[in-house]
Symmetry: D2
Subunit: 343 residues, 4 copies
């Protein structure tokens, strides 16, 4: 049993971490912090946890985070970078679910996130926590940058073809659709039920913060520069991301399906669907799975990859637990065995 | 490990049984039948089960149900009663999720279900599987009639006050609201997304089949005849039942809250909320919990009880597994530890 | 053509008023005020109005409201009462969509709304704008208090039987369900899509502000004191109220259906459905209709009335326009001819 | 006043036609046919029409369609082509909302629709009813092929740039998302609320029937062959299509916004949003509007056009009425003045 702490547990990634860790066989939840809710029972805020988790929100200062083996940050961007150096010094391993350590280039980070980075010296050490890509490094990491939700789906979808050199890196298109929980649990007019249900829209077309993160991840496996058009959309449902990925094939006649099944052979959380399939986001709702399908419409030059995840699980809290499992040598699926709830 | 079979596994209660039993520590799923889907992988129909359940639908005749320790019927009404006598004879214990064995009076059953009962001689032996009421009998039962969804919520809500003689039995009102999954997974215009979403309606006001089932259950604890008005409604969501129950108090000044906490002390799946609370159906989504709140508006003569369940879990498949756990001496919460998924 | 002004046009009743008045054949929209959005084009906030309404939000001070023939208040409670005396003095007729003038008793108003009334001397003059009840008085009124959404549905449902003396006034139950737009267009966690969709709950069971308004309206036609239990619920959809009303019959054998068809004969906006019907809220979505059905389950002592309205139309902006039509001698259906959008 | 008939009025395009025509100032609805519902009041099936339309479904044989000035076909594909030649001969003008007359090439039609065409000789005469493109021809047409829903949004989005020669015709991508009403009002498991809500998926990726229709329309303005990848998706809402269109620019530095505002100047139903905007489908719900926005992310080589319509209005019934208005010389917006209902 290891001791875990959560900083900032009142958002959707926070409650999802709680749901997963409350049943994790190897973890004892030691502390959860929230300035706004300090002193309140966690289950008063999240009644699904009544009887299942006896924990009180505390001020970060009193949370004895330094006694933990691992601390998760489920905070807005810019918070973790202020606290991480101290925790690392105290020997605590850290998994940041926000964006503070995802980009390697501090200047680029500053450009997209609008603030100066507090500890650029850690950016190099931080391991990007896409387990299917960086498993070996994560095992040794002191600091893991948990990937964004869109970047998880888009990278796992594009990487096999990019690695194989089978698509042009310069003309990638990622048309992604997210449930509303991606916008977080904060009072805002735009995500009210009456504004966001029964409607569909794109947002952030001029530029979304996940764009540089995705490009950085794809660039790692490409010799030529990545050219990516990324358009996120808001779809009227709570959970789920569906990424529809378009690439221009560089050769014809290759067995694309096989490339994916080979690439993800042995990956517990990646499910390559049979040819012709169309994955539904609900097939991964509440679970840490990624489901992928590969299409080549009319045997043309364009390949279409469909990828679905639950943005709060594989796209956030579940992936964080997966990272923890790898870091501490647990079974990678510990605490992540939930089957998607259908219907 | 016991061997379990499921008859009729293509509906929503079927897939929910599969989700729960696939992870149950004491159960090996032996067979699942479906005439329509025989020969097909279960996970082809329900992709959430891909990689988690390797089972093929079979014709009932070939399913070797007689080799099972327990068989669940997740069939339309009227199917189980044709097969149950043979299974009991073979020593198999049966849990029927349909209505065939819920009413003790064969004539009443025939009146409400529109067919003659095939084995009225078993109605007496069948135990009504509301565990919180009949735990001792269920332990010994060969045949358990799993309660209906509305009856579960309404009975658990009304029983404490009725037993205590604190409400008039003759003027009960149960205004109940169900998610659309209560209507099952069958092609029908009325439950299309375009018909049932963004709308709310009552149905079956002249008379619903769950009325006699509820009255039978409430009558057991009342000396005077039960008078119940039961109005079910369809609410635009997938899962969940919310029962709003109204009773006229026979005395004033009693601590109603205490009556509920005492009655359900030690019940793992019943959560009596603190005074003033309003349970949300999502707080039990995907879980086997019942959450209750007791109100006495303006300290008047009318008590209002609010009860929520997931109609497919505590209202169907979860309660069936709970019954199985009791019957076979397992821990009552085995396979039912899922925490509701919020958001 | 009359000149109309709207105070507080950025909420859901505001945009609904705009939608209706923009096409009204007899009305010229003169001004719409909003401190927060002053200077902004209305259609920038509400893109459905692009090309259909060329109007800019203005500060209340600059809106020349005194030049209008009629001013609508679509403001939070407590705003109208500060401005109405001045407008009346200037000869402007006022329709308040908030609650400031709905209760006749200033002390009761203060108790439920938590502030002192600014002009209690106007409470007597204000006409309660339930057209089907007060048409003659509304015609002459300087000041109309537009009814609340729940009170509209509940009163139109109960009044025929109460007037006829056919139900006990002391034991009425109104179990009402509202879409989320009833909570308004303000940033709040509780009405986020991720909190309010796929869930159902009661709220305000200890006491809701619409309770005294309903009781006042029902008391008018009853000799004995009204005893009413009113439980509102939030249902996961945008628009619509469904009221399920329960009354205890004082005599048997009466043709209840006939009482409703006679009572509402000639009412353009009240549709009494044939016996056995279950109205859906979507059948009135976007329209000013009320649809009612009357049931007497199993010919027992309890009558069940089902009433549906669109809370933003007949429950707010539509009823306000209906009031205006009556006040100015227009055809009552002018600007209110929209047919509900199905699906 | 002209006399109009509808063949096949029980689907979603049928009821939408009824909603629009019931209030059209120039049209008298003469007949509506349905074999399945013959003899039934239209308003019994669609209660939103109670009191607003007094019409009974009739057998096609008895509908006196030949006495109508115009007949709309809201039937499944393959029905209209059997009846149209007779109606034309009788001097009736026809608007087919199905696909029978959309493709000019009978062999191509047969390939995609799986049946032989019954009157290929009419394909040439039939005018493709995209009013913004073919207004002059529609005015004279005896037979109008009302465009498909996806083709309407995709063509209106791509045409200005294609005509201007500013995007490569060979590498177009249309990622389109539709509400569930696009699947029609027929009993089917896949469009049940419990299957289609709270989930998102692509479908028809290998090839969708609207692909050849779109390509035919785009080819008209392009010298080089059109290469189009079209991926439709199902989004969990009732109405609305959002098309996200990607094209590769052939030159840089052009004012793309201006090209759209010029192209659609004077078009009542096309609204080009200001730069930077993201149209929401709800901004056109229930209305005949198209809203477009043009983006060039990071001033790169890829242009992204966002187009929204209501699939049942501009994508079906509304466009049909617009066609009728043009054919009979009415004001193009007659009967189509509805403002989108928000929220």
């Amino acid at each position: 049993m290891i001791k875990a702490g959560i900083v900032g547990g009142t958002g959707y990634t926070g409650v999802e971490l709680l749901r997963l860790l409350a049943r994790h066989p190897q973890v004892e939840l030691q502390a959860i912090t929230s300035r706004g809710e300090a002193g309140k029972q966690v289950s008063d805020l999240f009644p699904n946890l009544r009887g299942r988790l006896d924990l009180v929100f505390s001020e970060p200062e009193h949370a004895k985070l330094a006694d933990c083996d691992v601390v998760f940050f489920a905070t807005p961007n810019g918070i973790a970078m202020g606290m991480v150096p101290g925790l690392l010094e105290a020997g605590v391993r850290v998994i940041d679910l926000a964006a503070d350590f995802r980009l390697k280039d501090a200047a680029l980070w500053q450009q997209w996130y609008g603030m100066e980075h507090a500890c650029p010296e850690l950016l190099d050490e931080a391991v990007y926590g896409l387990v299917e890509v960086n498993r070996a490094q994560i095992k040794q990491a002191r600091l893991v940058a948990n990937p964004g939700c869109y970047p998880t789906a888009v990278q796992l979808g594009f990487l096999p073809l990019l690695e194989a050199g089978l698509i042009e890196p310069s003309s990638l298109i990622a048309d992604a659709k997210s449930g509303v929980s991606g916008a977080g649990r904060k009072a805002a007019v735009g995500t009210l039920l009456c504004e966001a249900s029964e409607s569909f829209k794109a947002y952030g077309v001029p530029g979304h913060r996940h764009l540089p993160e995705i490009k950085q991840g794809l660039q790692r496996v490409s010799k030529e520069p990545i050219g990516l058009t990324f358009v996120p959309h808001l779809t009227p449902m709570i959970r789920g991301i569906h990424a529809t990925l378009y690439g221009r094939l560089t050769e014809s006649g290759r067995d694309l399906q096989m490339i994916y099944t080979n690439k993800y052979k042995g990956e517990y959380f990646v499910d390559v669907l049979p040819p012709g399939a169309h994955p539904e986001t609900r097939s991964v709702r509440g679970s840490n799975m990624v489901r992928l399908a590969i299409h080549q419409p009319q045997q043309g030059e364009v390949v279409v990859i469909l990828a679905v995840i639950d943005n709060l699980v594989k796209g956030a809290a579940g992936q964080a637990v997966q990272n923890m499992n790898v870091m501490f040598g647990f079974k990678e699926s510990d605490g992540l065995e939930d089957i998607a709830v259908i219907p």
